[in-house]
Symmetry: C2
Subunit: 350 residues, 2 copies
Amino acid sequence: MSQESLIISIDAMGGDNSPKVVIEGLALAHQRNPKIHFLVYGDKARVEAEMSKFPALKDACEIFHTEEFVHNEDKPSHVIRNRATSMFQAIDAVRQGKAQAVVSAGNTGALMAISKMVLKTIHKIHRPAIITIMPHEKGRYVMLDLGANTECDGVNLAEFALMGSIYAKCGLKIDNPRVALMNIGAEEMKGKEEIHVASHIIKSTHLNLNFIGNIEPHEIPKGKADVIVADGFSGNIALKSVEGTCHLIMHIIKNNIKSSWMAKLGLLFMLGAIKKIKKTLDPRLYNGAMLVGLNGLSVKSHGGADALGFSVAVENAAQLVEKDFVGTLRRELENIDIDEISQEAYYEVY
Amino acid sequence: MSQESLIISIDAMGGDNSPKVVIEGLALAHQRNPKIHFLVYGDKARVEAEMSKFPALKDACEIFHTEEFVHNEDKPSHVIRNRATSMFQAIDAVRQGKAQAVVSAGNTGALMAISKMVLKTIHKIHRPAIITIMPHEKGRYVMLDLGANTECDGVNLAEFALMGSIYAKCGLKIDNPRVALMNIGAEEMKGKEEIHVASHIIKSTHLNLNFIGNIEPHEIPKGKADVIVADGFSGNIALKSVEGTCHLIMHIIKNNIKSSWMAKLGLLFMLGAIKKIKKTLDPRLYNGAMLVGLNGLSVKSHGGADALGFSVAVENAAQLVEKDFVGTLRRELENIDIDEISQEAYYEVY
């Protein structure tokens, strides 16, 4: 594939209000990055109807008709056997080398199952992980795993650290990303044994990571690390706790302002500041969780994302393709044998 | 012990700026609940000097001089061997039946280690857990374990559910508390095996709990459950994620308002609403994490808590004593054999 080509396959039928939101999202992404070409999988008539509103987008797209699509309630074990869905076809385009990344707002379990089966893990990586970009006080960081692996061992965590570091370089343009293990204490021997093992592996000079040790979740928003590594259970708990707390605080603020006319008056003076606050915390700007560790990138857009949200997921994927995330990871792994390093780490911990 | 007596032992030397903050906190607690009597352990001269400012408090206190106290950097393995510290003496007062609960703002690890060793777990409870009160949209809930047990099995989680439910009855005055297991999905088979086992045990009619199934962290602030049960690692991660997110949002709001004179002007109209918002989210009002499952209550006040924060921890302890949390738990356990119930649960899951 030439360096200039930037082709992303799209499952047009996933998420609420598809394919409308998906096509609108592509139009936005295309506006900001006209280099991206799209292979769009879905109901051709409906996709074309939506696309007719965006003539500029049309030239950047190739539409592939599929009769079927994955439903929200479909079981992963079921969808992996049906090659005819828009999701399966979009993922398979990456396997065939026709596209370098796939974006879908459909059923998460299905996307993960098909992606793992079709794209397969990169040689030397044991398990793929879900990664996303999050805001902190001074900028952005990445966190993984967010739920692909409920149980992880030290080797898995170390591989996540490596993938997260490369993601931060490619996706956040951070030169020497600070990598930390999420833990319930900053001290080295706190928490679970797999974290201690991971710590030993990550410190190995072969991995060449800028490892800063453990980090507790309340320290993350202060911007002390660029890559937060966790098992999929804890990472998911942390992510959803952040989400819930944002809603709770906004709910309390709104309720108290609504109940006072003075406060409502004050709000008028604050509209500018509120707009900026909303923009900083806008979840749409952090949309797009990526399954990394596979032979190709698979991106999950939030099922309820609007066009802006979907476009952000597409652009994050494009950024990683441009910076050759998968190729960089493969090259890094050439000189590393994490299994071998881990023998020593287990010896240290046990 | 008579129903009327309400005696709490206090480690006067724990936390920042002790014993000043501790004594000020007792004065506040005494003002609001004059029924409480205090056994105060610490440097008698310094304690008396602080107490001289609060003549009304003096009559409610008995001061016991200790030469030593636990330092922040002391290892738990070290402090459990020194009976002479104010912390050890205050905890031992509960074991001796002189007090019904102990409150300390000192070293968490030390408080837990001494409390476990001195007070011992209640018959039939395998592991104590750390519990605290948190705010949701419509009121308050309790969450446990927050870090006493890094690894938990299904039996531990089920015991936490029972203790949390009794806490919600005694401490939050909720008649039939809704109990939920924190998990990364609402579906029954999501997450870890210990959660599935716990789910089976909790559903047993012997436990007589109002179990509503799994809850994801972002649903917690909506007030869907009164008791959130988690292993100590995940619970701690969730708690600290909430804490970090609160700080992040407040940081972003402040920064954006500071940078606009219009917004600062608007702020003047909002002072009333902001006061209410601050009060709702004031961490001092949720101060006090309790170690439950022991023969007596051991309460940890935040090391940096001010007098109001310390008084809240004391009042939470008093509330649980008045409602006879420990006695209620003992009575409930008389007719329950969780180990026996768990055999069936393991059979269901494996």
